[in-house]
């Protein structure tokens, strides 16, 4: 890189980093990210606070007490998760009781009811009636408790003493401990933390590629619309100007990333002490962030893929900037490129869950998807590397190079074209200049 290009790099970098908006934005962004992802958790809390009124019709008369004893779960507010009421069936007709309870459900006097039939020990079938059945976690909880009670009763009926059963059942409780098998041996894993890390970082990656890519477009349009290009171009070749711009803005992005990652890192190390000194209780979410395995490998790939993703998209963004005269005109050309980037984010969702499938591999090798999708595979499989990780660096680099050859020509002609916005056909003609 020659000294002229360096001068452009310096200008593009300093004019942006010195802006108040950049300083404020950089400091606020980590907070914003925590809010976006914390929001998911916090919303979950807001929407799940109410206790449920659950009527239990126990035709056997043997199940209710033990069943409710097994479900002492409370909500975060301290309220019980379920408020059980036993329905005294007496001599009433079951059908009549059903319609009475149905009415209560519809009138929202109760949330749901269970009918445990006389022969439940043999039929093993209980009905659960509710206004909606979307909360499958809740139904699983009920099902688990009922299964336990019925199993116990069956054992009791076979002659085992109730206390022995209860004790054995508790002792027989099994926990799954997640261990990830990698080339570096076994690693203890926390599913949720790893998941969150993958999403969070992939999101940041996509966001940064888009924000900084579009910054390139705006920078090119600024020079065009303010008629600066001709002055500059008398001192520097278009390709040098373009490279200087790409690198300068890239460094701004990396600066911001390092600050943010530094924050996250500092938090995982010193966060506890700080919060303890401040007398703040550590919320669960922050605990999870502290458990993130932001390993050096993940970090290096994060920077590498930001670099490559940014360059890949930015050369396109630069060409778009050169083709138009105003930000508004740029929008319609930008849209397909932005959608391509967002698409990679959606693909990431399914790939991060199953990073080892062939389709995940192929999706992550398509250059425009590679940065976000391949990174998500790397983060999900960390500390091991998924297949194709190293290859993807080369394929992306090749794609950047090829794209640069094409866009540099469009850029060279476009930056000096004022007035009419060119059609794609004309842009094609520029390639042959």
């Amino acid at each position: 890189m020659n000294s002229k290009t360096m001068a452009v790099v310096k200008r593009e970098y300093l004019t942006r980093v010195k802006k108040k908006g950049f300083v404020i934005g950089t400091l606020l962004l980590p907070l914003l990210l925590v809010m976006v992802f914390g929001g998911v958790f916090i919303f979950g809390r807001f929407f799940k606070p109410a206790s449920k009124d659950l009527v239990v019709v126990d035709e056997t008369g043997r199940i209710y007490t033990e069943f409710t004893r097994l479900l002492p779960d409370t909500l975060r507010s301290g309220e019980p998760m379920f408020r059980f009421q036993e329905y005294d069936l007496g001599k009433q007709d079951l059908a009549a009781v059903r319609s009475e309870l149905n009415n209560k459900v519809m009138d929202k006097q109760i949330d749901a009811y269970l009918i445990i039939p006389q022969d439940v020990i043999d039929s093993r079938m209980v009905t659960f009636s509710s206004r909606n059945l979307t909360d499958y976690e809740e139904q699983e909880k009920l099902q688990r408790a009922l299964s336990r009670v019925v199993s116990n009763l069956r054992l009791e009926d076979k002659g085992f003493p109730a206390e022995v059963i209860r004790e054995e059942m508790n002792l027989g409780q099994v926990w799954l401990e997640g261990i990830q098998v990698t080339q570096k041996g076994e690693v203890k894993g926390s599913g949720i933390a790893n998941y969150l890390l993958t999403y969070l970082l992939s999101y940041v990656l996509m966001l940064f590629i888009m924000v900084y890519g579009q910054m390139v477009t705006r920078s090119v349009i600024e020079e065009k619309s303010q008629r600066i290009t001709e002055t500059i171009i008398s001192s520097i070749k278009p390709i040098e100007l373009m490279l200087g711009k790409l690198v300068g803005i890239c460094l701004v992005g990396i600066t911001q990333l390092l600050v943010i990652v530094g924050f996250i890192y500092a938090f995982t190390v010193y966060g506890d002490d700080l919060l303890a000194k401040a007398g703040v209780q550590v919320p669960e979410l922050l605990n999870i962030i502290q458990n993130l395995r932001f390993t050096p490998v993940v970090f290096v790939f994060f920077l590498l893929f930001f670099l490559m993703g940014y360059l890949l998209y930015a050369v396109l963004f630069a060409a778009i900037g050169a083709m138009v005269n105003t930000d508004d005109e740029g929008q319609q050309f930008l849209a397909p490129v932005v959608i391509l980037n967002i698409l990679s984010f959606f693909i990431m969702f399914s790939v991060a869950k199953n990073p080892d499938t062939p389709s995940a591999l192929w999706a992550s090798l398509f250059p425009f998807f590679t940065p976000v999708v391949m990174f998500s595979r790397i983060a999900a499989s960390a500390p091991a590397l998924p297949s194709g990780a190293i290859i993807s660096l080369f394929t992306t680099a090749a794609a950047i190079y090829l794209l640069l050859l094409v866009t540099a020509k469009i850029y060279r002609v476009g930056i000096l074209m004022y007035g009419k916005k060119p059609s794609l056909k004309e842009a094609w003609k520029w390639l042959k200049y």
Partner: protein
Amino acid sequence: MKIVEAQDICKQFGQLRAVDNISFSLEAGQVHGMLGPNGAGKTTTIRMLMNIIIPDSGKISLFGQKNSANQNHRIGYLPEERGIYRKMRVNDVLLFLGELKGMKGKKAQAAIDGLLERLELMEWKRKKVEELSKGMQQKLQMIATVMSEPELMILDEPFLGLDPINTNLIKELILEQKKKGNTIIFSTHEMDNAERLCDTILLIDHGQKILDGQIGEVKKQFGSRSIQLSYTGKPDFLQNSQVIEKFDDFGNYVELELKPGADPQEFLQSIVREVRINRFELMEPSLNDIFISSVQRHRQGEENHE
């Protein structure tokens, strides 16, 4: 040494022949004026010199070399489309543009300070460009062009929109660069400035070269045939002379034009026998006259041609 040579350059935009087969060569160390009415093709020619647009045909060489892109650091360019980063501070913009020309550190700052002082912009040094008036922005851009003291300066309409005081400041800058041995090319349609500054002129109209050459030569070519004459005696000779093309009698004096090829000296000898001469002056036409008459003649020629 020829610093700029253009050979049969042509440029067409759609139906318009913006530059039509123009050739010229410019000597180093002089001030060259490119003259022509609006839309004559001056800016297109300049842009081709700057390698911003490529001629459809013809050859251009700067400093005796074909590819001018590699000569950029030796050229200072003031484009017609002026623009400068509006959000940057005056000093930062100049440092940046200086760096693009290879100027750095204290040397660059010293050059900037000197020029800001001379062009009366010192108090604006730390202000943002957008706070400057249009005239000030133009001076700022002139500083950017001159600061590296390039061997060749190409200025597209450097006086456009400037008041007489600022016009003078820019003229001084141009002449100073000439004294240092640098070459200046500028375009204008104001003949006054051209007449005072230029060593040579290149007159363009409708994309075609009408005339070019050293300004003295051009004037001689046009002016040797115009004469102001004041005499005592009979005016018969005006009618009788074979060499007079036309004349205007203003009473106190006569303005007359000789036929092409006629020698004013011989004409003078022939009339001293008939009348008493009080004043005999060979008129130099102003550049303005040359400009107007040659553009008109050229356009008539074009029409006849069609």
